[in-house]
Symmetry: C2
Subunit: 196 residues, 2 copies
């Protein structure tokens, strides 16, 4: 078909989430057409990230130094720590730009089925941070799945009496239509109803 | 959010066809998790392709030398040239691995609306190749769109009396169900019916 360098690039691209063989071929043709504008900068950027990206030793966020931008920022030492499952969730919280404290990335959830115990997550480090950083509130922003909620309960138990623990409210999403919501969400929203 | 190297990589990835901001973020996190297996090889492969990829001076295919693998392969000098709109179509033909001749990539179709004339495509070079390569048959494998068919007619006119010109058959796709086919395809298939 094409020469081996090209086939190799297509194979690698096809291993990205969201791309298959067909879209990888389209992407590679697009890259070659935009060589100076896209392909070369992308190759450079990937090489740089491959070299510099690392996990923050404190919170588990991904950055380019041992301590990430958020942990290094003294204005974010508000005493609040938001616990998330993975870095994608941290980024989602940051996009809302409403939370001004620091994060703690667990790197997964407890799962009996997959044999993930507390020692596989960064829960011990979270417990350490409570005292060393003078934390006053831990906000659990875990996914509303069974594993996420199990993990939330476990962490809440661990931190009991040490610090205030809260979790994100459940209810109707902004812009959501009742007709399209599941019964669980409607039940949660009704139970947590507020005076207008 | 993340450090500027990461944001830059996400921005670049989001410019690939088939990826948006959300899937670019997912892809970048995946790349960082698979740094040795995927990110570094991908950066290297892109850099190599950015340096070596070029259009074949003869047919317009993309390869890593001035004359592509297919044009350089003497066993493919069968006297047949298959004319396609772009390199993706050439790759699609090669995947079927039924055509044993050479190709000619037009780089688009004639389009009055977008001001694409014969001189913007590689039609003059195609006419040259007929004599220099001793071509006996030109197979038009252009898309079954209005612009594709206009271009096919124009090329057929240009090559009249010089060489045999054919085009791909139209009909029911293999595995296709009549119920889901448009009227035009059924009409074409009926007109081109063959004795069993």
């Amino acid at each position: 078909m094409s020469s081996s360098d090209l086939e190799n690039l297509i194979d690698l691209m096809a291993r990205l989430p969201g791309l298959g063989p067909r879209s990888a071929r389209r992407a590679v043709l697009h890259l070659i057409r935009k060589r100076g504008l896209l392909l070369t900068p992308l190759a450079d950027s990937m090489a740089r990230v491959a070299e510099t990206a690392r996990e923050c030793l404190n919170c588990g966020n991904i950055g380019t130094s041992d301590i990430c931008d958020i942990c290094a920022d003294e204005t974010r030492a508000t005493g609040e720590i938001c616990v998330v499952e993975d870095v994608a969730d941290l980024w989602a919280m940051e996009r809302a730009s409403v939370f001004k404290g620091r994060y703690h990335v667990l790197g997964g959830t407890l799962s009996a089925l997959e044999g993930v115990g507390p020692e596989d997550l960064s829960i011990p480090r979270l417990v350490d941070r409570i005292t060393t950083e003078g934390v006053t509130e831990v906000i659990l922003a875990l996914n509303a799945t069974v594993d996420g909620q199990t993990t939330a309960h476990y962490i809440a138990d661990q931190l009991e009496h040490q610090v205030k623990v809260s979790s994100l409210a459940q209810g109707v999403p902004v812009g959501g239509e009742l007709d399209y919501l599941d019964e669980g969400t409607i039940t949660a929203a009704l139970k947590a109803r507020k005076p207008v």
